[in-house]
Subunit: 338 residues, 2 copies
């Protein structure tokens, strides 16, 4: 079944078939009917590859994420897929595990697929990584991460507010020795949150802040992170002159890993130390110590990222937009009282 078949049956040219089916160009009502009837009668299915080849652009968008297994990511991905489908796009998902080589590979793939655009959470803030996409004029929307000076549309958490909310809660409960437990330092959230923490704590005379990094580049999956981060964090904490009384964790997996290590070592939460984090997860309210977190509106962020991309298709040269998503607190028990 091709346009030829439809054209023959409807007694029109393939150009007319194309005009009707693509909704472009003007066609007389009568011919339109005949075409549509033929399409039905033949139960025609379009050939997307042919369309893509001819239009030099597919109706697919690429979603390149660090790890689909992280709750924040899968929830975001779900929203992206949903909104993309509503807008007539299919979505290609790619998982990089924060591995720059894989990221580079996927950028190449996006070009070969001639995707309409990409939604990415780049593992580094070095913009040279995405130069191939820029050269190929592939529209880019970043989420969770951004590049210096916001050259592309971006959708990310208002990290400063989120951090402020967390620290306010912790400070109110009397905490002064903080440990920031983060993953990949080259990415935006770690940087912004650290900056925000420093800014807030600069105004608190007796406050201390220690940064505990966990380089997870190329690491495989949630389970590994769960097992290794907590022990590494405790190990670091032991060696510190002043033991931290509050662990601020960059994501839900880190929260769990730290809670678990603390528990195994006989520490109680929040008695011996508070543990709070970014990203809520189903079940945090059912923990032995329910976990206090700031959450991101992931579904809204996913839908917004697609919306920005679609707007971009219409107006390639409009100035880039930077959308900050509002965080919201989940006050639970893990932040104190001390």
């Amino acid at each position: 079944m091709t346009y030829d078949d439809i054209a023959r049956r409807a007694g029109v040219s393939t150009a007319t078939v194309s005009r009707v089916l693509s909704g472009s160009g003007i066609v007389s009502e009568e011919r339109r009917r005949r075409v549509l009837d033929a399409v039905d009668a033949l139960s025609y299915r379009s050939n997307r590859a042919a369309k893509t080849l001819r239009r030099r652009r597919s109706d697919t968008i690429g979603l390149i994420v660090s790890d689909l297994e992280y709750p924040f990511v899968s929830s975001f991905a779900r929203a992206v897929e949903n909104e993309a489908a509503a807008q007539g796009f299919a979505v290609l998902v790619c998982n990089t595990d924060e591995d720059l080589e894989r990221e580079r590979f996927y950028y190449g793939l996006m070009i070969e697929e001639q995707v309409a655009g990409v939604i990415i959470a780049p593992a580094t803030e070095d913009i040279r990584m995405v130069q191939p996409l820029v050269d190929a004029r592939v529209p880019i929307v970043t989420f969770d991460r951004r590049f210096p000076d916001d050259p592309f549309d971006s959708v990310l958490l208002d990290n400063a507010s989120a951090t402020g909310m967390l620290l306010e809660d912790l400070l109110r409960h009397g905490h002064r020795q903080f440990a920031a437990v983060i993953g990949t330092t080259t990415a935006t959230p770690s940087r912004e949150r650290l900056e925000a923490m420093r800014a807030v704590l600069d105004g608190v005379p007796d406050a201390t802040l220690t940064v505990i990094e966990n380089d997870l580049h190329g690491t495989v999956g949630v389970d590994h992170a769960l097992e290794t981060i907590g022990p590494a964090v405790l190990d670091r904490a032991e060696r510190m002159p002043q033991r931290p009384t509050a662990f601020v964790c960059a994501n839900a997996i880190i929260v769990m890993s730290v809670l678990s290590a603390l528990g195994r070592n006989g520490f109680s939460v929040p008695g011996d130390a508070a543990v709070v984090g970014y990203d809520d997860v189903p079940g945090f309210d059912l923990f032995a110590t329910p976990v206090t977190v700031v959450n991101q509106p992931t579904a809204w962020m996913g839908a917004t990222a697609v919306a920005r991309l679609v707007e971009r298709l219409d107006r390639p040269d409009a100035p880039a937009t930077a959308t900050l998503a509002p965080p919201f607190m989940r006050h639970r028990a893990s932040c104190g009282p001390r």
Copy 2:
């Protein structure tokens, strides 16, 4: 940059370029070199749409899931993407929310995309749903679900063993009144697990089993399920002649929803009732009552599904394989003692 450019620069025909780059056909070592050099020099990128159009088959596979936000699903999806990439395929994800209309729509999309194959968890066991895919000769691998008589390659949990493990634990702890809390009844896991429960409990004289369904067709997301299932379950349980002492939940979200409702209504677990389920989730060991579950080897299942699909491409007419994944228990506190 097209084959024409490469051919011109290398002083060969486009046919030769194709033979070199696709790895098919025999080409003299010298010409091969020249082609490869030209490819490098021009930093050529292939056009996948052109390949697809010509070969009538893309290097993409479709992954159609019920809800990417469910931990089992996102973990499976991650493994699929990973293995697919290793085998040279990109993956198109589609989220159906168990909505048959969306499922049908995506099947059509798969045909239009001329995907190399699909990995699906069909929402119903009615095989007529996938007839379009069959007619279009799109290879199918089902996961989590299957069709009667296993007409396609399938990868799913050994539901009978898994159920047996759960019941054995519960029976050992003295439970006799069981409630099975399930979602969509038309899908495989519910059916198989119920059958297995009945088979086991038939041999236990004083055992009773009540089935509590929660039709989530077309329901939006994890949050909604979390809020509504637990209360509905308690409501049902109240009206039963004999209150169940053990809730066997079909997935991790149902477990959480039931635990949460129980807690809000002043029931203790496992004191007043045991709550166990299928699928482990990071954090279940940190719950106020750590949750006993049978888990599925999701990463292995995802990789296996892709492997089956790739094998199928080579041998379209080989008999269908039915792969049962081995469940493994996570013995924790929520199953008893009573």
